[in-house]
């Protein structure tokens, strides 16, 4: 009972949605619970989740980062170029592994650099994040276009592709847990901890709550902004590496809908674009809910055109639910107090 009271409303609400969706889907389409499908859903959450995490942290600071997918693709493309030039048919396994590790480092560095550029423009010039990242979204994608002229980089080492497709704990029919999901979970858990349990995380959320107060609290707001966007860039870079491994290629325009999906996921998880509110750890539940919905609709052969609109309905539905629950809660509390007030006589004598 105490534990239930500790969990916040949003978590409970999302958990209920997840369970209902899962049960309904499993009931209508038994294949929904097949190990192949579970595996496929885990894979998909592993990739889309990273971008949701990026948006979640910038949202909490009352910002937005529209450039994440451009950063991811740029990272993929630069790694692709490195693979193409550094490796050939006769490269030894050790060489390949070395270059891959190098690329991971370079990739994350590039992601951080891109994040730094966003932070620079936002912190130093005070330009609104939505404008800055809209511009850098174009710039980073533009650099990718200039490098590739719109073509894909395809010389991705086999071992990276295999790694991205590997899983652990596979038993018999069950394919286990994809490495990609584990990687996502690791990043997701660490960022949840960073945001909700470390000094930086508190500063980040306070920045979203009221940056003027932070200013008077002698908190280095610029540093908070830099760190936030660098973190977002780094996570996006990991996303880019994963995409490269998963698709064996990198291209400037992969994942055109990824940012929109990420926004949706965050909002459903109760992370407000107005800053300072929401819990990163609720993301996993909203990712699951949206995944169940998307895969379920595919299985039910529901037209993708309606599917998109149902996301909108789900969002509105969950927010209206919350509104009604809160209203009811307050009404009940007030009624209770009224009763007790009526029963106890006035404590003060009138003069």
């Amino acid at each position: 009972m105490r534990i239930i009271r500790k969990i916040d409303n949003k978590t409970l609400q999302l958990a209920v949605i997840c369970v209902v969706l899962f049960t309904v889907m499993a009931f209508i389409r038994p294949k929904f619970t097949s190990s192949a499908n579970i595996y496929s859903m885990m894979m998909q959450i592993g990739t889309s989740g990273l971008f949701a995490v990026c948006i979640a942290i910038v949202y909490l600071s009352r910002g937005i980062d529209l450039s994440i997918i451009s950063i991811a693709n740029l990272v993929g493309i630069i790694c692709g170029v490195i693979f193409r030039t550094a490796l050939n048919e006769s490269s030894s396994d050790a060489e390949v592994t070395g270059v891959i590790l190098l690329c991971v480092l370079i990739g994350i560095f590039i992601g951080m650099l891109c994040g730094f550029i966003n932070g620079l423009l936002i912190a130093e010039l005070g330009i609104f994040p939505i404008l800055v990242t809209l511009a850098t979204q174009n710039i980073f994608m533009g650099i990718s276009m200039i490098i590739t002229q719109g073509r894909a980089e395809t010389d991705i080492p086999k071992s990276l592709i295999q790694f991205a497709d590997s899983s652990i704990l596979s038993i018999g029919d069950f394919r286990g847990i994809p490495i990609i999901l584990l990687l996502f979970l690791a990043i997701y858990v660490s960022l949840s901890v960073i945001v909700h349990k470390t000094p930086f995380g508190f500063k980040l959320q306070w920045h979203g709550s009221n940056s003027r107060v932070s200013f008077f609290n002698a908190i280095d707001n610029k540093r908070v902004i830099y760190t936030t966007y660098i973190l977002s860039g780094a996570v996006a870079a990991v996303g880019g590496l994963i995409i490269t491994g998963r698709t064996g290629s990198a291209k400037a325009d992969y994942g055109g809908n990824a940012v929109f999906q990420a926004l949706l996921t965050c909002v459903l998880a109760g992370i407000s674009p107005l800053g300072g509110r929401g819990k990163v750890y609720n993301l996993i539940l909203s990712l699951m809910a949206l995944q169940f919905l998307s895969t379920g609709f595919n299985m039910l052969r529901i037209s993708p055109l309606i599917r998109d609109s149902l996301y909108g309905f789900l969002l509105v539905f969950s927010i209206i639910m919350e509104y009604l629950i809160e209203k009811r809660r307050v009404n009940m509390l007030n009624k209770k107090t009224m009763l007790t007030e009526r029963m106890t006589a006035s404590r003060y004598t009138r003069s």
Partner: protein
């Protein structure tokens, strides 16, 4: 009942995007096949062009265990790995506009892309009287089919018509984005940037009408020879008004039906050979090169013929 091209199976159609005229028409071919074979066919796909969404769709399809996926990839390089996993699970994969794909059973092409490019180049060259300069558009710089047609056009023009220049010189084609509004703006801009142009080619059926509109507005109907890929219904007005001189097309429904038949062949274990007849217009005498199965027909329609076609 022993026809290798007719099998009862579950086939998913995965177009670049759902909803557009082209792929809606293509899906009608699947409907026809359903009627012939009793197969269950359905369409899924993203509502906007996005390779990431495509990959997710392939995963979902494999997870629910369909027999065959007939895919028109948005970005061939980026779906190949995912298709490999599908095949590893025993799913048949047939592609269209995906000659470079490795992980497929067959790729179906309405024709040889290079030959198609040559054909278009000749239409342009003749229309322009062997001189002038051309602007070449592509739907997106990443589209394999568009790029190979465009490249083939440039090669042919340079080889056969020495007096025709390519206006967008740097060898980078102008991207119209598979979006009518955007292509209209791009076309207007290009017409001003290259006022010397007397020939235009557009491979993106979505963008063909709005480019014609831009030509009409600029008053260049008679100066410019405009050759483009399009659906007859979509471009009829402009073909009749002369803004679009020649429309090159094939019926997407035929491609859809032929894809289903290849899927059936793959299921029955029949190996498609050069000379086979798929029983679909344009695919009566296919050429097979590796996994690529090519038809040989495209229609060249001008104002005289356009009214004979309704799709």
């Amino acid at each position: 009942e022993n026809d290798p091209f007719i099998q009862d199976m579950v086939i998913a159609h995965l177009p670049k995007t759902v909803g557009g005229a082209w792929f809606t028409r293509m899906y009608q071919g699947f409907g026809q096949y359903s009627g012939m074979s009793g197969s269950e066919t359905f369409q899924i796909g993203p509502s906007t062009g996005d390779a990431a969404a495509h990959n997710a769709n392939v995963q979902d399809l494999v997870a629910q265990g369909v027999d065959a996926i007939c895919v028109v990839p948005y970005a061939p390089e980026q779906i190949d790995a995912e298709l490999g996993k599908a095949r590893a699970e025993g799913t048949i994969v047939i592609s269209n506009e995906g000659t470079k794909l490795q992980n497929i059973d067959y790729d179906l092409e309405a024709f040889d892309n290079t030959k198609f490019g040559q054909g278009a180049a000749e239409l342009l060259g003749e229309g322009m009287g062997g001189k002038g300069s051309i602007i070449v558009f592509v739907g997106s710089l990443g589209s394999t089919a568009h790029m190979s047609w465009a490249n083939s056009i440039v090669d042919t023009i340079q080889a056969k018509y020495p007096d025709i220049q390519v206006a967008n010189k740097d060898g980078v084609f102008i991207e119209t984005g598979n979006n009518a509004a955007n292509s209209y703006e791009k076309a207007k801009e290009a017409l001003k940037a290259y006022p010397e142009a007397t020939g235009i080619f557009c491979p993106s059926a979505t963008d063909t009408p709005s480019i014609a509109r831009a030509i009409q507005e600029a008053g260049l109907t008679n100066q410019i020879t405009y050759v483009a890929v399009g659906l007859p219904n979509a471009v009829r007005t402009y073909v009749k008004s002369g803004d679009l001189d020649v429309v090159v097309c094939w019926d997407p429904a035929d491609v859809g039906l032929a894809m289903c038949k290849l899927a059936a062949a793959a299921k029955s274990g029949y190996e498609v050979k050069t000379g086979d007849d798929l029983g679909v217009f344009g695919f009566n005498n296919v050429i097979v090169e590796g996994k690529v199965v090519m038809g040989s027909e495209w229609r060249v329609l001008t104002a005289a013929e356009i009214d004979d076609f309704n799709y």
